[in-house]
Homo-oligomer: 218 residues x 2
DNA sequence: ACCTGAACACCGTTCAAGT
DNA sequence: ACCTGAACACCGTTCAAGT
């Protein structure tokens, strides 16, 4: 075929198709040959648009970061002392939801923002909002980091789904408290949802205590 | 050579060598051929001891889980109401330290315990201790899950190291609050350490508030 | 039982050749 | 500029053959 009049590929089409493939069949299913076949071209064609396969996956990751709502960080006043908490909560919920819609790409996202624009926008928004709300710079950095730990950890894999669905795997002699563990995977979503909400609330309660101390000494 | 009098391989030797290879060069460096070469045998020999490459990696992951200290959960009395907190803190610190010593295997650990004995022992210990300390079963499950989210997230990759070390990557027009972000990777360990401690403390403070409420209504 | 080399069906990436 | 097929140096895994 050689070069067609109208390009067969575009970075957008590659990223969209790659995301669909990752979502449907997992990271391992994305080979350059397989992705190219899905796009109706031959494997090496992709290298006209991306330098490496990893760049394609980074672009997919960034397209997921871009789905996280950041609007709650606009107009966050200084000194109110309660708004940052609500904003952080809503952001965390939106962040997790975006990742849960595309769980297979989370390992790539977990590497950090790197040079990905949507990842950087997200880091910028949460850090800027915390500083704007009255947190000292170092603490605002910590908040960005610890929220990331928690959200990434909660999205990286299901807690409940990490246990096998087979009662015989849990010998009471070895694991005296895991008698019900085989039921975990059945109620996966609810258990993970509940743990996420419990942890998020504990985190925010704890941070509120700390914020009160910061304000006292200021 | 065919079969030697004394076996060249053992599951232990394979796991130890695989762990060293993962630690030194990363997960991607572990191919069956490369690992076999490191062990002085040919690639297919490994299949006499493990069914798949993944089973080898699972064994490596479990050997890391086994390094997590669980002794703080012994003799945790019911009703004291303050001991579970200290135990949870010390456990989290030990857990994170073990993972940070072998960060490259964390993605495998993050899948959950599955059928890995050390992973199951760990889950059994923390859940049993929380129930023993007076937490209702459903909340004890949530605690096991949310601590896992936080610890895995904190070990999966450095927060600070996720930002590139290059001031020009952070255009102030795009990211008004990331003017200092290029300095993050330099002070990586300290920033991540601090964020972990801050988050852990917030989590425990928040859980303590919740525990007080549980005890009230009981 | 435990090792070997050969083989199968894959990989990511490079490159000269085509238009 | 943007596609192609061929090629290189890899993969994980199976299997018959050796002792």
């Amino acid at each position: 075929m050689a070069r067609p009049r109208k390009p067969l590929l575009s970075t957008d089409r590659i990223v969209t198709t790659a995301r669909e493939l990752v979502d449907a069949e997992g990271l391992a299913a994305v080979s350059t040959r397989r992705l190219a076949a899905e796009l109706g071209v031959s494997g090496p064609s992709l290298y006209n648009h991306f330098r490496t396969k990893d760049e394609i996956l980074e672009a997919v990751a960034d397209s997921v970061s871009a789905q996280v709502d950041l609007s709650m960080f606009e107009n966050l006043g200084h000194g109110a002392g309660r708004d940052w908490r609500t904003a952080l909560h809503d952001w965390a919920v939106s962040y997790r939801a975006a990742l849960r819609n595309h769980p297979n790409i989370v390992p790539v996202l977990a590497r950090g923002p790197g040079r990905r624009p949507a990842g950087l926008r997200l880091a910028d928004a949460v850090y800027g909002a915390m500083v704007g709300a009255g947190w000292p710079a170092a603490q605002a950095t910590s908040i960005g980091a610890l929220m990331r730990y928690f959200i990434m950890g909660s999205a990286l894999g299901s807690f409940a789904g990490g246990f096998v669905d087979d009662a015989s795997a849990y010998d009471p002699a070895d694991y005296p408290h895991l008698g019900q563990a085989h039921l975990l995977s059945e109620r996966q979503e609810k258990i993970d949802e509940r743990a996420f909400e419990t942890g998020l609330r504990a985190l925010l309660d704890g941070l509120a205590e700390q914020f009160a101390r910061v304000k006292e000494t200021a």
